[in-house]
């Protein structure tokens, strides 16, 4: 490896590392992911494709670029809490209104989904 390549790699790695590390190390995001993947909890994969999620369903849109799609986290939270407010025909369960998840669990899911 020549010196120049090494520098480029080093820069690339340091540039990437903090991003990944923050997602991995954020316990709220990790908790949110566990809830999202758990079939008896969020079970988001039943309908949505998500990073690292196996055999996702196709009923809802893939969850990606969520920061761009929902710059306002409160709006995203409202969507998860009761999406029938925004679309009466939606298939999405009203996770907050029907107490499928607790308020704390929804906070964690919002943190995780926003990170996608």
């Amino acid at each position: 490896m020549n010196k120049k390549t090494a520098v480029v790699l080093l820069v690339a790695c340091t540039g990437l590392a903090p991003l990944t590390a923050s997602a991995e190390a954020n316990p709220l995001i990790e908790k949110g992911r566990d809830i999202a993947f758990d079939r008896s909890k969020g079970n988001c994969l039943a309908c949505h494709a998500m990073e690292k999620g196996e055999s996702p369903g196709t009923i809802g849109p893939p969850l990606m670029m969520m920061d761009t799609r929902y710059p306002d986290k409160e709006r995203l939270r409202a969507q998860i809490w009761d999406s029938t407010r925004f679309n009466p025909n939606t298939a999405m369960p009203p996770f907050g209104r029907h107490a499928i998840l607790s308020e704390q669990e929804i906070d964690a899911v919002v943190a995780y989904v926003s990170s996608l």
Binding site: S55, T84, N89, A91, P93, P94, H98
Partner: protein, 276 residues
Amino acid sequence: MKRLILGVALAALAPMAAMAGPAEDVQQYREFFMRKFPGVQMQEFSNGAYAIDADARANWEQIEEFPPYEVDIDEGKKLFETPFANGKTYSSCFPNGGIGIATDYPRWDRDRGEVETLALAVNRCREKNGEQPLGYNKGPIAKVLAYMAYTSRGKPTNVVVPADDPRALEAYEDGKKFYFTRRGQLNFACSTCHFDNSGQMIRSERLSPALGHTSHWPVYRAKWGEIGTLHRRFGGCNKQVRAKPFAPQSEEYRNLEYFLTHMSNGISANGPGARK
């Protein structure tokens, strides 16, 4: 965008359906599914998800080569032909001796003013002849029904909602309302999965279209490891959306069966069936 169009289509359907009768409903539901799954012939809908999923179909066709329900047909035939303690058999209770008549059920029972399913008729036959009624979810009743369904294979579903008895239409409308009403903690109607989102994947399962849903019961379900009845499946669906299931053969489920089977009028019976 596809979802938007469907939503609009359903919204457009609703007010028309409110004015129309059962015959118009059938026409609309049929057209809805034919548009949703272009190229799928109407009779094909009797095969459920296998009508629209080539991979799952190949797997299912292999299973159908040695049908897991075959033994149930044989045992059901034996049960059907074995005389009760009084010497009579099931055939004494049904038109045509009970052969090839499953497609006429559920039927409107004018005397009692209620929907009579074939399962209910089987138990009424037993009680009339001094026998104990059978449990409705599985076991002997599913086998008797399997045999009766088998003798009806190839016949078109023919559920009648008599126009001259408003109570029949009421029962039909009650079943229809059940079908389109959200329930349970997860807030799903039957139609959420089997109308609007039929054909989509829920996790790794293909959601089957409502059209043809009743053609192949009772069903040997791999998940059950045995043959079971339509009302057992209704109960399972309700539990899956975290709703309290109704009792098998409750008025709710009988009316639901009335509506759902009527929707498949004209589709040939192919029960009993095998499903995942």
